[in-house]
């Protein structure tokens, strides 16, 4: 085998130009496929990143009425109860769940003020003790809520820097008082995103999800929610998965548990997990199916390359008929001659495959620079491409090799 390999390389090297031209079809085919696959992978990675956000594996489970998110207007909802402690623990114990938080919220609030300043358009959350950890927040000044705040229903609040700046411009907000629906709350701390938590902001939707600080956000213990909004409203949830891949499954499991809070009699309320991964996958499928067509087109180049290899190998067998005759007369079996030509053909196309991979990656990078689509180098695609080009060599080399092996040594030696 080693002998065959060395001989194949020598033969290829001794006809450098011819070998290169023969490889060209394979090179072009493989390069196109690698460029396309790298672009697809890059696009898919980007879709996943855009939708899901790097470093944030939170699944949001919210209450929906029909197709729209349920909006609380200060009324009780008789068909639904709060998510119980047991249910919360059950969700936290689902496999691959790192943490989960259950919260109440209002957006675009106008009932938060401090003196003459009003936090208009801001957000307020009634949070449990898991909220900061699950959503990647950290208190950078003052303190977080402690158990006693929850036990005694202390009227305390945490502000983000935007809310602090709006309500207490130029002052230290910690220790000050603000009013929510007329109830005084003491600000015990200021919070912000952890530095390690860096969601990619690619579009407006991402911005709204992660950086709505321009309007300011206030957090209060969930036990105080009824003080401000009259009722213990059913909660929504954020469940953090250990990996993006597990988000869909976790979302479904948690959604099922929370669904138990809704009585089944004739209501259109549902808990729905926002399945970003599924959405990303759907978008990826769309981009895949378009690009799979391109791969088929590139495969035609490979087929043409294979035919070129077969043609040149047939020429090579004719040119080397005397050599084949000599080897047969010196005692080489047919199989050895067959293997020699098959090896040569496979080495030729494999080299073409390797060159094709390199050129394909370069092409992908150039395309990426021109069009702005990212590149994702896929190692399995590279391995499969090189293996596939070898298979092409073997397939298209088979006919010439069999022809060589079946040459009659007497005729072969006589050939001029």
């Amino acid at each position: 085998m080693r002998e065959n390999l060395v001989e194949a390389l020598q033969e290829i090297w001794s006809h450098k130009m011819r070998s290169f031209l023969t490889m060209l079809g394979v090179i072009i085919g493989i390069a196109s496929i690698i460029a396309i696959v790298s672009t697809i992978k890059g696009t898919n990675d980007q879709i996943m990143k855009d939708l899901v956000g790097k470093g944030n594996n939170n699944v949001s489970i919210s209450l929906y009425q029909g197709d729209y998110e349920y909006y609380f207007e200060g009324d009780t909802v008789s068909e639904i109860t709060q998510v119980t402690e047991e249910q919360q623990e059950e969700i936290r114990s689902i496999e691959h769940v790192e943490d989960a938080t259950f919260y109440n919220s209002r957006t675009y609030v106008d009932n938060i003020s401090a003196g003459s300043k009003v936090l208009s358009g801001g957000k307020i959350y009634g949070i449990d003790t898991h909220y900061l950890n699950t959503c990647g927040y950290v208190v950078y000044q003052g303190r977080a809520f402690v158990d006693i705040d929850y036990k005694k229903c202390n009227k305390v609040a945490l502000l983000d820097s935007t809310a602090a700046d709006i309500l207490f411009p130029g002052e230290n907000a910690v220790g000050q008082t603000l009013e929510i629906s007329g109830e005084p709350f003491i600000i015990v701390g200021l919070y912000q995103q952890q530095t390690a938590f860096e969601p990619d902001i690619q579009n407006l939707s991402d911005y709204e999800t992660y950086y709505t600080e321009s309007y300011g956000t206030v957090l209060i213990p969930n036990v105080d929610w009824a003080i401000c909004y009259k009722y213990d409203e059913p909660q929504n949830a954020f469940v953090r998965a250990d990996d993006t891949e597990n988000m869909s499954a976790i979302g479904k499991s948690a959604q099922k548990i929370m669904q138990e809070c809704i009585s089944s009699s004739g209501t259109d309320l549902t808990y729905t997990a926002e399945d970003l991964v599924e959405e990303a996958k759907q978008q990826q499928q769309l981009s895949n199916s378009t690009n799979n067509l391109l791969i088929w087109v590139a495969s035609i180049a490979l087929l043409v390359g294979g035919i070129g290899v077969m043609n040149i190998m047939l020429v090579s067998v004719t040119e080397r008929t005397r050599e084949i005759g000599l080897k047969r007369s010196l005692g080489a079996r047919r199989r050895r001659i067959l293997m020699q030509f098959l090896t040569e053909s496979a080495v030729l196309t494999s080299l073409g495959g390797v060159l094709g991979v390199v050129i394909g990656i370069v092409m992908a990078v150039i395309i990426s620079n021109i069009s702005g689509t990212p590149v994702g180098i896929s190692v399995p695609a590279i391995v499969v491409s090189v293996a596939f080009s070898m298979v092409i060599g073997i397939l298209f080399g088979l006919l010439p090799s069999v022809k060589a092996a079946n040459l009659n040594p007497i005729d072969a030696l006589r050939r001029e």
């Binding site: 005692g331 079996r333 040594p409 030696l413």
Partner: protein, 240 residues
């Protein structure tokens, strides 16, 4: 006995009829013999060589090589016989142009599965024996005709064959080189190698211990062992 051909026929179909190239060949060659097979063009010398060299098989009759009846051997069995029992020397040397002298000599060893290191050692030794110890890494195009033929002889002898089969070994050489090659053959024969040589050249044939003359596919004379027809068998008319 190293080779015996018993009533051997070789036919080649050609269109609707058959050409009988060899007819009723009977010859016995002993170990250590040095036989020249001569005859005019078309007499069947080359076909005879192909049969003895196991490059082809007989149409009828028996060929016994080193005690084995090889008449109905398969292609693989014939390949193995060529590898281990026959050494070929051709008129045009038939060296592989891109390989050095020593690598050319290694070729049959590689076919025989000899380890690389041993291949090189044995090939070096063989080339030294034919006086080319200084030319190991020369490519064929850097060697003279006589030197090329000596490389070919070293290659033929490398697997220690029972028979050295030479087809017009001096046909492409000048007289001095031809003489040197014949001396080498003589030396090999003196050391016990059985040599069968096909040649037109009467001077070359004269160097052999024994001469067999072919004419129209029949062995007409063999100055040592003319084997008579087997009992009850008719010697065919010359119909070629």
């Amino acid at each position: 006995m190293i080779l015996e051909m018993k009533n051997v026929y070789k036919d080649f179909p050609q269109g609707d009829f058959t050409v009988n190239v060899l007819k009723h060949i009977n010859i016995q060659i002993q170990e250590g013999d040095y036989v020249a097979i001569t005859g005019p063009s078309g007499s069947g010398k080359t076909t005879m060589m192909n049969l003895i060299g196991c490059l082809d098989s007989v149409t009828k009759g028996q060929m016994i090589l080193d005690g084995e009846d090889v008449s109905s051997y398969t292609d693989n069995q014939l390949s193995d016989l060529r590898l281990h029992k026959i050494g070929f020397v051709f008129q045009n040397f038939e060296l592989l142009g891109q390989k050095s002298a020593i690598k050319n000599v290694c070729v049959p060893l590689a076919f025989a599965g000899v380890p690389k290191k041993e291949q090189m050692e044995r090939a070096k030794e063989a080339l030294e024996r034919v006086g080319l110890g200084e030319r190991l890494d020369f490519k064929p195009n850097q060697l003279s005709g006589g030197q090329k033929q000596r490389v070919a002889i070293a290659r033929a002898m490398i697997n220690r064959p029972r028979i050295l089969l030479a087809d017009e070994p001096t046909g492409a050489l000048d007289s001095a080189s031809g003489k040197a090659v014949m001396e080498l053959f003589q030396q090999l024969n003196d050391e016990g190698t059985t040599i069968i040589m096909i040649t037109h050249d009467a001077d070359v044939a004269a160097k052999a211990k024994r001469r067999a003359v072919m004419r129209d596919g029949i062995l007409t004379s063999d100055d040592e062992t003319l084997v008579p027809p087997y009992e009850g068998e008719e010697v065919p008319e010359n119909d070629q």
